[in-house]
Symmetry: C2
Subunit: 143 residues, 2 copies
């Protein structure tokens, strides 16, 4: 197969895989009282501790007002709380609460179960190749 | 690496790849006068010709009213047109117009260029493995 045909094929299958992962992800989130943007924000907040709403907006590529509203709902749900910086009281940081960590754990475990089930008939060697490939691919992709 | 650790790793990297593909996809769509849901609808409509709004809603997992509004905007953009069934005038089918096919071609080409660039330093053999893996994975995943 020439390179172009392979790229056409890869694009189609990457799109298919991502679309199915997205659909499954939303299906899983339906079982928890959290929306997709709230979950996405939680994932960012656990990776980049104590960031501000401005930094979170940049990271999520969303307007500050949208993220402020998002954080308000996440506070009501007790996933996060806001805390004033001790050194500069003008700065408000977002802290993930225990319930936030718990929902991440539970959702990610469900996503892992989904993938484990897909790979149940794959050999260890095949799983190793897939693992390595996704890692390399993830690292090659710029944000 | 034991199976559980690999699944944790695969889940993280699949999520990373899908998140970057999504972000890139939206970035590409910004250069065209089409929104993400409109583009998604166009992709379904080119695969399943002449379907109704009800069938499209089912396929996209969206409310009929949302899809009706979506199709209205796509008609205004001349991506699709509605056509009454010749045998049963109560049935309205959605037909993709030339401008719709053109935008799909252009957007998919941009997505292919993005992937081609990511794979530029990969060997032919590596590209073959990735191609095969995504195909198998796409087929193993249920919708």
């Amino acid at each position: 197969m020439d390179v172009d045909k392979r790229v056409v094929c890869i694009e189609e299958n990457v799109r298919g895989v991502c679309s199915k992962v997205k659909r499954k992800g939303r299906e899983i989130l339906n079982d928890f009282s959290i929306t997709a943007p709230q979950f996405e924000a939680l994932l960012v907040l656990t990776k980049r501790k104590n960031i501000t709403i401005g930094e979170l907006s940049n990271n999520m590529n969303l307007a500050c007002s949208t993220v402020t509203e998002l954080i308000y709902r996440m506070e009501k749900n007790e996933f996060v709380r806001r805390s004033r910086d001790l050194n500069d009281k003008r700065i408000v940081k977002i802290i993930v609460m225990e319930k936030g960590y718990k929902v991440i754990d539970e959702v990610l475990n469900r996503r892992r179960e989904y993938l484990r089930d897909i790979f149940k008939d794959y050999s260890d060697k095949e799983i190793d190749v897939i693992n390595k490939m996704f890692k390399v691919l993830n690292n090659s992709m710029s944000l």
